[in-house]
């Protein structure tokens, strides 16, 4: 059982009902005509691949069929928050070592394992 909180259905739902859709908060260049090839290529094809906090777009494919955002830790796979389209994440940095069990040591061990 792995459940994800849908901010539109306002409840935890089975992971089977969702699909990930890649990196979130990608802003389309305001004036594509004025972009260099490199800027446009970056926008179209290049995505972040961080170790740690990552903001992603998911869709509640079988439920309400709405897209929403997920802040996920790419090492522990922990979902730290979900929030609606148009909202900004509240978790943007690694929790301090003293505050959480996901300390830097744990993270490193997770990588080694």
């Amino acid at each position: 059982m792995f459940q994800i909180y849908c901010p539109y259905c306002e409840e935890l739902r089975e992971e089977e009902e969702f699909h990930p859709k890649g990196q979130a908060h990608i802003v389309r260049p305001a004036n594509p005509e004025a972009c260099s090839d490199e800027e446009w290529g970056d926008y179209l094809f290049f995505r972040d691949n961080p170790r740690g906090i990552h903001h992603e777009l998911w869709v509640h494919a079988v439920g309400c069929r709405k897209f929403f955002n997920v802040t996920r830790h790419t090492v522990s796979y922990a979902i730290l928050e979900t929030y609606k389209i148009g909202e900004q994440p509240s978790v943007t940095a690694e929790p301090a070592v003293s505050e959480s069990t996901t300390s830097t040591d744990d993270v490193r061990q997770g990588v080694r394992a």
Binding site: E10, E17, V62
Partner: protein, 217 residues
Amino acid sequence: MSESALSRVNLFDSRADHASVAVESPLAYSWQRSGAPAPSAASRVVLREQTFLGHLILRGGAIVLDEALREVLDIGLPGRPNTLSWDVSGERSIQWLSPDEWLLIVPGGEAFAVERRLRERLADASFAIVDVSGGQTLLTLEGEAVPELLMKSVVYDVDPSHFPVGKGVNTVFAKATVIVRRSGETRWELVVRRSFADYCYRWLLDAGEEYAIGVER
């Protein structure tokens, strides 16, 4: 109401030839192919297809749709996620599917008139109404073993304590998707897509065997 707003959509009565053209429910094939075990005294689940109801998808802002629906059918739009409500007669229901999408189910033959009146009432508001009556069908499951049957079939938690009367969700059913609704203490409903109807029906017969499932026709 401006005529222009109505003339922009191609509104037609999909049941106009009902008297002269034979209609078949999505389960017509299943009745022939898989049969229908008669309910007995031992049946702890009884299945029945509510054939040829009118299914309308309403999309738009909750406030304008709520006002129109109250005026046309005297039902309030459910604003809370995953809930549904009925009119006084219990024959018409409206269910939340998404923040801007609701499923309205009305008795057979009413969909055209209801759609027309809603369109007239909504006029130039930003909305969409789609008649999906031909694309899905409503099954009712009645009996004390229905939650047990559903627990084997859907990923959603259908324990009656977590799934009160008036709740409805879109979820995974076996390898298909259905809408699960609870309309009474021991009465549940499934909205099944036409193309999955036979699969879902046979799944229900198989999963319901241990509860001596019966089918009323």
